[in-house]
């Protein structure tokens, strides 16, 4: 190989990729807000593109089947799916935003994640078609629709409800002689008994960083007053000085050390931990309600042996002990879409009661946000029970990593890994978060 050729092919071309990535961020300025017109005529022709978060093998058929059904009903329409996983959808979405290539319909979390699209006028204002007084709005759970409310307007179409629960194996609890813990201290006592019986009390994998954020989020909602949390989620007013933060992290560290594999958990993935629980190698696994069916899908843990409870609150907690961490997840319509009425029509179809029942039942197990979109007869009883707990909760604590600005979220993610690994104290983690919050103002 000639040396000159080498120079041009490695030094320059190798950097090309990085240049293209950064170079692609030359985005156009956002245009005026786009408002959905309830009287717009739907043209059943053309292609509709959708970015979903159902890339996992067991979830992907839902949108594939819905698209096929819709195409059958409207032969002039072709639906193109881009299906990503929970982790990959974050990077994919930003790459599509940066290159102005967002599809007609795209997945969104609530909180600051969804707010980004609204701020950039990239989401259609759906208030006139999904508001509480509209036919579509009446079909959907009001609280789920309003979770996508920004500046008094509605931008999201909730597809399913989600919240975090501690799933447990009834036989392993029985073997260790423990019952469902009602307080945080009882949970720690149960862990000791379970460990004595020869199982890992809680399987926990934190390679991704966000699993720790979920524990911390629930503990924060118990220890920090709701008003303070919401003030701190807003960049302009955030100061993260409430003592409940350090207390929550101290409790979290204690829980990880006493109930899981401690610092080693940073080297395991969330999915590996789920597998460990499914295979009855651990007694508990902190999981989302949308994962209940996966826990008992094909492992040693059977559906009847699966139990669940809300992470118990510590005694004398200063926050809201009736709160639960979770949020609906849904979709937004691209403001730059050439076929907004068709996109809305497709989502009305996806959120119909019939499709809701399919989504809520195994193998998907995603509790539909559609009123009447689930039937207890076809659903996992644990999912039905979990939905009741969500309905009875006083406050839905948003996921910390989507409620906060990206820099603050990154500080939480790396800080909690450091806390688990023992390289930082709770106070040091909070200093890191405060610093990130200050630089995000």
């Amino acid at each position: 190989m000639k040396s000159t050729t080498f120079l041009s092919t490695t030094s320059l071309a190798s950097f090309m990729a990085a240049g293209l990535i950064a170079g692609s961020a030359n985005v156009a300025l956002a245009k005026d807000p786009v408002v959905a017109d309830p009287d717009a005529k739907v043209e059943y022709s053309g292609t509709l593109s959708i970015l979903t978060k159902f890339g996992l093998q067991q979830l992907s058929p839902f949108f594939v089947d819905a698209a096929k059904e819709y195409e059958k009903l409207h032969p002039g329409v072709k639906v193109e799916l881009i299906q990503e996983s929970d982790d990959s959808v974050k990077g994919k979405t930003k790459a599509l935003v940066a290159s102005n290539s967002l599809p007609d319909i795209y997945f969104s979390w609530t909180g600051s994640w969804g707010e980004n699209f609204v701020r950039g006028n990239r989401a259609v204002d759906l208030s006139k078609v999904i508001g509480p007084d509209t036919a579509w709005g009446k079909q959907l759970a009001g609280a789920a629709v309003s979770a996508f409310q920004y500046n008094g307007k509605l931008y999201g179409i909730p597809l399913y409800l989600d919240a975090k629960f501690m799933g447990y194996s009834k036989p392993l609890f029985e073997k260790a002689g423990v019952s469902e813990p009602k307080t945080f201290d009882e949970l720690l006592t149960a862990c000791a008994a379970l460990r004595k019986s020869g199982v890992t009390p809680i399987s926990f994998g934190n390679k991704e960083g966000w699993p720790a954020v979920h524990y911390a989020g629930q503990l924060l909602s118990y220890n920090v007053p709701q008003a303070t949390l919401e003030k701190d989620f807003t960049p302009a007013t955030a100061d993260y000085s409430d003592p409940g933060y350090v207390l929550s992290l101290t409790q979290f560290k204690q829980l990880i050390d006493e109930c899981s594999d401690g610092s080693g958990t940073n080297g395991s993935s969330y999915a590996s931990a789920l597998q460990q629980f499914s295979n009855a190698k651990s007694a508990m696994y902190y999981q989302e309600i949308i994962e209940f069916d996966q826990s008992t899908a094909d492992g040693a843990l059977k559906r009847d042996d699966f139990g669940y409870f809300k992470l118990p609150a510590p005694k004398d907690a200063k926050g809201d002990v009736k709160s639960i961490e979770g949020a609906p997840e849904g979709y937004m319509i691209n403001a730059a879409s050439k076929n907004i009425p068709l996109a809305i029509d497709f989502m009305k179809f996806v959120t119909s009661a019939d499709n809701g029942k399919v989504l809520s039942a195994p193998p998907y197990g995603q509790p539909s946000a559609t009123v009447g979109g689930y039937s207890a007869d076809t659903m996992n009883p644990a999912v039905v029970g979990g939905l009741k707990v969500i309905a009875d909760s006083s406050y839905l604590m948003p996921w910390l990593d989507t409620a906060n600005p990206p820099r603050v979220a990154a500080a939480w993610l790396s800080g909690l890994q450091a806390l688990i690994g023992g390289s930082q104290t709770p106070e040091q983690v909070m200093e890191q978060v405060k610093k990130a919050a200050a630089s995000s103002k």
Binding site: S11, A30, A98
Partner: protein, 321 residues
Amino acid sequence: MTVVKHDYKGEAAAIGFTLQRKAGNDQTSPLSGLLSFRWVLVAFVLILWFVYYPIIDNFIVSTKNQDIFTGETAFVGLDNYRRLQSDPIVWTAILNNTLYAVISIVFQVFGAFVLAALIEGLDNERWRRFWRAVYFIPSAISITVTGLLFYFIYQPDIGLLDSFLTQIGLGNWSRAWLGEEHTAIYAIIAMSQWQGFGYSTLLFGIAIQKIPRELYDAAIMDGAGTWRRLWNITMPLTREMTGLMVIVTITGAFQVFNEVMVMTAGGPNNSSQVLGTWLYQQGFIENDFGYGAAVATVIFVITLLTGFAQLWYTRKRRVHL
């Protein structure tokens, strides 16, 4: 054997790329030069568009703060470069990239050279082929697949490595290799050596095969032993390949991305971040494309300097028989 200055004109003529010249005139006419240029025009335009334009554009992006959602941009000059200096993760990343380069040079250059010499020194061709294949197979596996494979090998307690250590009575050495801040990057680098070692060995093997056997026969007749032959014949005559491998290894070490992303995503607590993953984190996680572009510029400067070093080295030390 002599060390000579390289004759590019002679080499170009040998492969038939000299310009047409008028009879009796050593000067190239402007017209023929222009006609020759048309052959490279398409490639030139493509390189301008896909290589040089992104490089320039990347630098422009690095002088701005952009909100990808609103499209708003603010010119910040060299602020993102000043921020680089005080960003402790950038220094962690540079250190990790440097570690990657140093360890890779030890294993994938010097280790691979010794192994190639041993394999090529075998008398039996069948055995030579066998060992070449054995060491090359890991290189044929995708780096992402290898990353996932080693993720399972490094799994705390249930992974192959920890199980093996327990089996041989070294259970107290077992740990969460990817989950501890002081071991994560070394675990990734070790995987990378396993993957890349065979490829380097193969390249050194080819370089060694090109050395005329007569030189070794003459050395044997002069009474030179194995180490003498390795030191006085094999090493000087594979110097060009060694130089190339060092540069390729350093450049590759500063562009590493996939294996880190798959195995740790830069964690825990950013301890295994490399420049490539930090660039990704800034751009695609923290929405800070301007700062991400500044990190990209650092990668560019390092790989460019390495490329120049390679140019200088190979021109200076090329050996001809």
